[in-house]
Symmetry: C2
Subunit: 238 residues, 2 copies
DNA sequence: GTGTACGTTTATGTATACGTTATTACCGCC
DNA sequence: GGCGGTAATAACGTATACATAAACGTACAC
């Protein structure tokens, strides 16, 4: 994975254009974040501030502020005189991220179960779990991945803990690229899909301990699976 | 808790002067962060960018960058035309933070126990636990609080998970003021101190499950205690 | 061919300027 | 006194300028 500069010929502004928001900082932040997460920029990719600012049609000032935010979120690093660099994610990083998600989501499942949620409150989670099942049946891996993300996002939101939601989102962002790259290297996600329904059922039943255990087991199995893939394919950085 | 402006007469630059670092951003970041965490600035406190920049002897540019970082860390909010405001921490926030710390530190204890640490590696944690004991015996609450922080910091560092360390540090930062304010409102921390030793022993023995349970129980009891204090004293924001 | 020295270029970190608009102060009226 | 309208002020968000020093390219010596 060699480092690429912003002058790489396959990069044009139109491939991920800035979508205007209320502020230039926000525009830059969202645009750049998207590029990192969706692998439009590969790991290690570099670009200078002035180049990015020109491309996004703004001065360096808001662009820098966006980069500071992205750096705080662990998605890029800002290197003096070398601009920004997309932070590669190593296998160790993935282990760390997955350990975090395991702890956070197990806690989220427990908190959700304790809250005695209504059918309406549980619906988005149930819908997401059902969507993973439909996608699996239709053998549509991309739809499955999207539904999987939705499941996990909805799960942490049901915890009612804002900080947990925020941190889990950042963990998911950091892992997103690796998830996408390895999506077709893994066995069919039969276990995952079944485990989703299991977690939902435990939450619905208000069984906090069982919900915790179910979600935790789900993430632990997923962690083992992913780390095995990274090792087997000798994927050092993603 | 009324809002105070930067012109409050009891604030002078010398009470928490900027300590020069390699960059002005870093100087501002550390100075301001310290003021928030140590309650030099109370919850809700406001200050304008230009005022802070003047006080710290720099232009608004690096000052803004420092504020962006602090906002990302949940310590302040930046309000257009009103400058920055120290984010008050509500009882709900404290519940969220403690739930996070419970999940993260229990996981840290488990990971630490799994790593089969040497005596040398365990020493900082053991020393910190011993320090809480000594401070308790000497009836020195401030020393106890400091040792307690050291214990928790060392615990998460033993997890070997960098992301966990980073997130736990931020949770501790957010909770720091509330911890300090409530330090003398709680019973003598006899349980805490005994629990520290219990956790250390489980980690030393390499019993991951027991370490997880011990640290989790420790944090859960502490959570209940703190939330009860906040309710009893009608502390709405800290 | 390799290493070093030197001059030039360039990408920052920071300061300052500028345009916009939210906020505040003031005034008149009821 | 309270309310509404208007003008002035101020605090941004952003653009531009500037100083610094890192990085690069070239020439020369061994």
């Amino acid at each position: 994975m060699s480092q690429k500069r912003a002058t790489a010929p396959d990069r044009t502004p139109s491939s991920n254009p800035a979508v205007p928001t209320g502020s230039l900082v926000e525009t830059a932040y969202r645009t750049l974040r998207q590029r990192v997460i969706d692998n439009a920029w590969p790991p290690g990719y570099r670009a200078l501030e002035q180049e990015l600012a020109l491309e996004l049609g703004m001065s360096r000032t808001p662009l820098r502020e966006a980069l500071v935010r992205l750096q705080n979120e662990g998605l890029v690093e800002v290197i003096p005189r070398h601009g920004m660099r997309v932070l590669p994610v190593s296998a160790d990083d993935m282990r760390d991220i997955y350990q975090m998600l395991t702890a956070l989501e197990a806690m989220a499942a427990e908190l959700a179960a304790r809250r005695r949620l209504t059918r309406a409150q549980l619906k988005p989670l149930l819908d997401a779990a059902a969507a993973t099942e439909h996608a699996l049946n239709a053998e549509d891996l991309d739809a499955w991945a999207s539904a999987d993300e939705s499941f996990h996002r909805n799960l942490v939101e049901l915890s009612g803990n804002r900080l947990l939601v925020e941190v889990a989102r950042n963990c998911a962002d950091r892992a997103h690229r690796a998830r996408a790259v390895t999506l077709r290297m893994r066995p069919k996600p039969t276990h995952s899909t079944r485990e989703h329904m299991d977690v939902v059922e435990k939450i619905r039943a208000g069984d906090a301990r069982a919900a915790f255990d179910a979600q935790r087991a789900h993430r632990e199995r997923g962690t083992r699976e992913l780390l095995a893939i990274l090792e087997y394919h000798q994927l050092k950085t993603l």
